[in-house]
Assembly symmetry: C2
């Protein structure tokens, strides 16, 4: 197989431009590694005239990504447009229908339509690869699908949204409130056009749902991920957690339990001394646990031109080298529907609430917790200037249903201002 | 391709037994992932009668691994015997000559004969895969060869001998001298039959040489690795380093410099707060740096039945799935001979020596360093009970030739007892 591999690239933003740059700069190296030339034949983007700092004159231009995906001189459709519906979806479907392989960085597309696309691709004898969709430059899809193929996976965890981790670690290091750091991140261009994708945990949940499908052999089930963003985390929470030896991270956890598949993307407390606890700034980390391999930790840049383009190129090179496996590591037709776990594995929780300065207020809260079957490990009341006293409780292991019951009752006791915050303390 | 993939396994120690166990326990899962059954047809080991806790009665037995490698009913020869010459080499050569693919965990074999074996295998259209040879369960060969195939690699680093890292971290945490912890490690069965393979840095250097060949497209050149073991490290060195915010690690570094390929496996000081500095116990860590991906860090168990067997199975599954690439990621015939760098990149060094209690002794040492072109960043003389005073010096960046010159002169000044210790301070 020494024919060139011919790419059609749709989307010429940061990542697309990065891919073009690598293919132009490293033609010889790539050909030597792949055993055949890797070429771009055509490209497509919203604006043809935009200056991108790369020479596109060697490539055919298509205004319509669907037309690009159907070109006879394209073997692999490289989808770098983004968006879970609209052009990215249509063009990917068109590519598969036209007998093309697909490389995509689009986590939203696959989180929503991954199973249907995988079925279509495998019916057509085509592959879809998506390393760049999860954790930027870290080759985690490869590690999980291929390197750990001799394991029954037990748990997959990760900090997979660099913006959230930047915000949380910056709040701690600079002692700044959420809103101020959010604005900083926005000014620095770290946020998606819809910031809820980042700080609402949705982007990270997309990624978790993809890893989960590979790890546990289930159909991608983004709809069952329990998602909670970081918007309610205060600098006080971060400081309280630090006092107890923890860090707050937007942590994804997927595990197969006796009750079904548990998938969560929520702010959690993790030990400050753990690899996840030590993760600073925009870096991503994924933890893969399997019955044989025990625990593998992968860490690297979760975004950016170079790292994401590196992940896209890893997929392109695999296809150029003739590597063809099912999209999620087993035939899509054999993937079972996930049975979502009704409630999370019990865990200790961190609770924070504002107690009104009334006699017996704390006792009422403690009683409500006790009645929900939740026992208290530690409790601390902080000095306060205003009328309300911040109270911080660490529970013993509690079931999520019990906790939900308590959190439902407590605001109605007439002694607490606002809604209590509850963060899971994760054993990582 | 739905024919079974048939394995012949030579070597039934911990790893071989682990592989047999996985294939017996996960037949369905492996078949689903590979798209075809993965079976063992024959095995070989030194002692047939030994109780291994797995049922071998379904497999043909061969006393001679060469005969195993040549069997018609074997597609893949799985070499888990070890040793860089003798039976492992003969059987691997026989397997290739007989048209078999090879999966091996044998770092010594490949470090010494990897280039010749790769040439032979590629001539015969066969693959050799060796994930288990480097860093146990961590899929680092895969990450480097495949996931990062779109990068020019700039540096590869790692702590790749768990026993050395166990010894060094245990010395620090328990405050015990080297000899005592070495004995502990020996009692715990952590050491190779020839402990110099571990504590002498040889085993880790084998691994580095393999990664280096992939990263830089050079022929494996174990002979040019600058190797230094951990036997001269004292608890005082560890404590001094800790005082300055460093940890001592047996660290491998491979980088392509303007002067040629630099490969080192030596004890180094690394920042205590870096991922490498934080690595405790028998865990391995590999850092991969490329022009696009920036830095990827992989961490996991470097040894043990489950993790190593997991790595072997990753390779077996790749072959079962039809993935075939050159042994070192580019055709062996195209790999250049490495041009070893004459001297290491300049770096700051940690020096420790025993100064006799004579007037002007320290001045003589400082002068000798200055005459070799080495300037001193920090110097500290410790309280001492005996006649000699431990002196600790941190230099500014120094070339290795300059340092060697100074280390040659200093013991002949008549003011120092024993040989000075010099450890590189690595920017990780």
């Amino acid at each position: 197989m020494t024919d060139p591999l011919r790419l059609g690239i749709a989307g010429l933003g940061t990542v697309g431009t990065g891919v073009v740059r690598i293919i132009r700069q490293k033609a010889n190296l790539l050909a030597e590694r792949a055993g055949r030339p890797v070429q771009i034949t055509a490209v497509s983007a919203r604006s043809r005239g935009k200056e991108r700092g790369v020479n596109l004159s060697d490539y055919a231009w298509e205004d319509d990504p669907v037309a690009l995906a159907q070109r006879d001189d394209v073997d692999v459709f490289v989808e770098l447009m983004g968006g879970h519906d609209g052009p990215a979806k249509h063009a990917t479907e068109a590519a598969i229908a036209a007998g093309k392989d697909v490389v995509t960085a689009n986590k939203a597309l696959l989180a929503h339509h991954g199973h249907a696309l995988a079925l279509a691709a495998e019916d057509a004898g085509r592959v879809i690869r998506f390393e760049a969709a999860v954790a930027g430059g870290i080759p985690v899809v490869k590690a999980l699908t291929e390197g750990l193929a001799g394991n029954d996976m037990t748990r997959v965890m990760g900090v997979m949204n660099g913006t959230c981790n930047y915000i949380l670690t910056r709040m701690q290091s600079a002692g700044l409130p959420y809103d101020e750091v959010f604005q900083e991140a926005s000014d620095l261009g770290y946020l998606e056009a819809d910031p809820q994708l980042d700080v609402g945990g949705i982007d990270a949940a997309h990624k978790l749902a993809l890893l989960s499908a590979i790890a546990f052999g289930t159909q991608v089930d983004f709809g069952s991920v329990d998602i909670e963003g970081i918007g309610a985390i205060t600098i006080e929470d971060i400081n309280h957690a630090a006092d107890m030896g923890f860090r707050i991270k937007l942590l994804g956890v997927a595990q197969m339990t006796g009750r079904g598949l548990e998938q969560r993307m929520t702010p959690c407390l993790v030990p400050a001394s753990s690899p996840l606890g030590q993760l600073e700034g925009g870096t991503n980390m994924v933890v893969l646990e399997g019955d044989n391999v025990e625990q593998i930790v992968l860490r690297g840049p979760g975004a950016g031109m170079g790292p994401t383009a590196s992940a896209v190129m890893g997929d392109v090179m695999d296809i150029a080298r003739g590597f063809r496996i099912p999209v999620f590591g087993r035939p899509a037709a054999s993937l079972e529907r996930s049975k979502p776990a009704a409630a999370g594995t019990p865990a200790p929780y961190y609770l924070r609430m504002s107690l009104e300065d009334k006699p017996g207020a704390l006792a009422k809260v403690a009683t409500a917790l006790g009645e929900a079957g939740i026992s208290i490990d530690r409790m601390r009341q902080y000095d306060h200037a205003g009328p309300d006293a911040p109270v911080l409780i660490v529970t013993h292991k509690a079931g999520r249903d019990d906790l939900a019951r308590a959190l439902d009752v407590i605001p109605r006791l007439g002694v607490v201002t606002g809604a209590p915050i509850a963060l899971r303390i994760e054993n990582v």
